[in-house]
């Protein structure tokens, strides 16, 4: 289920034109998995004790991903043997051990440990995303609440959203005169669209029943905002945040390749210039793992704030 939902989310920011709450699909997938499991267990239970049962469940959970990873390593090893210049898994592993034994060294501005590179990329994502949230969430609320504003802003968003955030990088350089804020600026641009759109859609989809409750109970605007709108929109907002951070992490690598400095994207480019291909492979894994962790953390937060409607 995790892999299915992940591929879906990563595909979302690029492909889908309308934000969707993904929960139902994920739940459906979860239910499907659960029902499959339920159907399977009785067959295995026959004639077996409790321990083998638990073992087989463990094996079923762990074996397929392990086989998948082994297959990947196998293909990689074959490619490494057949071509010259592409490092083998073992060579990459040895390089990784060296890199990760000193992740936080500093030898001047252009030669720093991988830990610093990851952290400075994450910092740019955090700052850019933070500004995007500060602007995008209130704007999304306003757009969702007032139809006039919605029709006013809608064409602008439709026009600007498909533009690659990297196209905004020169504008950032022009305005900020420095590379670092320009990279953050691209993160801001790519994060803001999902935030605005998801928040606005969330506000528009607040069930009419709740708004009727608000009217019948004669709640003040403040109470409507805190007790009805905000909690009702929160799951949509969290989806927006998740999509934003996913895209931001995709974009930061590319942006840093262009701007230089310290950062995982720059590190990839630097290692390419040094022709250390094994380091590039390591970077690919690191970027993937960090992205996965970000996704998982945000999914957990979203789960905490999703309410059961019934």
């Amino acid at each position: 289920m995790t892999t299915a939902s992940m591929t879906m989310t990563h595909a979302m920011p690029n492909k889908s034109s309308e934000p969707i709450r993904e929960k139902p699909a994920e739940q459906a997938a979860a239910n499907h998995v659960a029902s499959v499991k339920q159907a399977e267990t009785p067959i295995i239970k026959v004639g077996q004790g409790k321990l083998p049962d638990a073992l087989s469940a463990f094996a079923r959970a762990v074996l397929p991903p392990l086989i998948g990873l082994a297959l990947l390593l196998g293909i990689w090893a074959i490619i490494a043997i057949k071509t010259s210049g592409f490092p083998s898994p073992l060579k990459t592993w040895n390089a990784a051990v060296i890199i990760f034994s000193h992740p936080f060294y500093i030898n001047g501005p252009n030669d720093q440990g991988i830990g610093w590179n990851i952290l400075s990329s994450l910092k740019r994502v955090a700052v850019g995303f933070g500004f995007a949230a500060a602007v995008g969430i209130p704007l999304g609320f306003a757009i969702g609440r007032f139809k006039f504003l919605n029709s006013m802003v809608d064409p602008i968003i439709s026009l600007l959203r498909p533009v690659s955030p990297l196209a905004w990088l020169p504008i950032g350089l022009l305005v900020f005169k420095r590379a670092d804020p320009a990279a953050t600026w691209t993160i801001f641009i790519c994060s803001i669209w999902p935030m605005i759109i998801n928040t606005a859609v969330g506000v528009q989809r607040v069930p009419q029943d709740y708004m009727n409750v608000a009217r019948v109970l004669n709640l003040s605007e403040m109470k409507i905002l805190t007790k009805i709108l905000f909690p009702a929109v929160l799951p949509y907002m969290l989806t927006g945040i998740r999509l934003s951070i996913g895209t931001a992490w995709l974009v930061i690598v590319a942006a840093e390749m262009l701007t230089g400095g310290v950062g995982i994207g720059f590190w990839v480019w630097d290692e390419w210039n040094n022709l250390k291909v094994e380091h590039i492979v390591i970077a690919i894994f690191v970027i993937g793992i960090v992205g996965m962790l970000l996704e998982m953390i945000l999914l957990q937060i979203a789960k905490r704030f999703s309410y059961e409607y019934s």
Binding site: D209, Y210, N212, V213, R215, V216, L217, N218, L219, S220, K223, K227, I228, P231, Y307, E308, Y309, S310
Partner: protein, 263 residues
């Protein structure tokens, strides 16, 4: 005695893509204090529309509605509403759901302790004190509806408007909630307008049953006065010839005079 709610020549039109649709016309109805009135009719006859007009959630296209001597121009705390689908906020506990309304009505005059007391009393009245700190998704459909009723009652409205309050419940739960409501109405002497499509429920609970003709352009067809002694007991009424007569009168209206052919 002056009626609490007066509905005068009310008509309701909705603008649709195909032009204007007349839902209600020429509705005249007076509701006195302490009276229990049910609105019954086939689906699509505008029962809920009429209730929403009294609630102030929608405004009439023609005519006017008066509650407590003032024209109804929007929802107000003197008119409590119980929704069909309970409409509890899922992120608030049962207690907080009731408290939300209590705070709004009494918050300016009374202290926090008194407000909590009111909330608790309302939940006790519908026998929900044991689950008041649970969230709506943790309690059954019947219990949610009890909380919905408590929320409306806790605001001490002059009139309680209920839109098919038990429509989504199974028959047994529905019966127990009806009994609950009979108890609450006896205790508080509440004025109630209730939409229902259940003939037994209409006779059991009301002083008057307002029967509506089929839409479009629905209006009041007949009004039946139910002169059974209160409080009523469903077991005794099951063998009461008078009860059977009232029941038959409504059935006759619904299935002979206003027979609706299945679409």
């Amino acid at each position: 005695m002056k009626p609490l709610v007066q509905v005068q020549d009310v008509g309701m039109r909705f603008d649709t893509k195909k032009g204007s649709f007349v839902a209600l016309r020429d509705i005249n109805l007076d509701i006195s204090e302490g009276e229990v009135v049910t609105l019954i009719g086939h689906s699509g006859c505008g029962k809920s529309t009429l209730l929403n007009l009294i609630a102030g959630l929608t405004l009439p296209s023609d005519g006017g509605l008066i509650c407590n001597g003032r024209e109804i121009a929007g929802p107000g705390p003197e008119r409590g509403v119980v929704f069909q689908n309970h409409s509890l906020l899922p992120w608030l506990s049962c207690f907080d759901n009731v408290m939300l309304g209590v705070e709004r009505v009494f918050g300016t005059k009374e202290g926090k302790a008194k407000l909590k007391e009111r909330t608790k009393a309302a939940l006790e009245m519908v026998h929900m004190e044991h689950a008041m700190h649970k969230y709506p998704h943790e309690v059954s459909g019947g219990m949610k509806q009890r909380v919905g009723i408590a929320r409306a009652f806790a605001m001490e409205p002059k009139i309680l408007l209920m839109d098919e309050p038990f429509g989504a419940l199974d028959a047994l739960t529905r019966a127990s909630l009806q009994d609950e409501l009979i108890g609450v109405m006896a205790k508080t002497g509440a004025t109630v307008v209730m939409v229902t499509h259940d003939v037994d429920e209409a006779v059991l609970l009301s002083d008057r049953v307002v029967m509506m003709t089929n839409g479009p352009a629905a209006t009041i067809g007949e009004i039946l006065e139910v002169k059974l002694d209160k409080p009523r007991d469903r077991l005794k009424l099951a063998h009461d010839p008078q009860f059977a007569e009232y029941r038959a009168a409504i059935l006759e209206f619904l299935y002979q005079k206003q027979l609706k052919h299945a679409a």
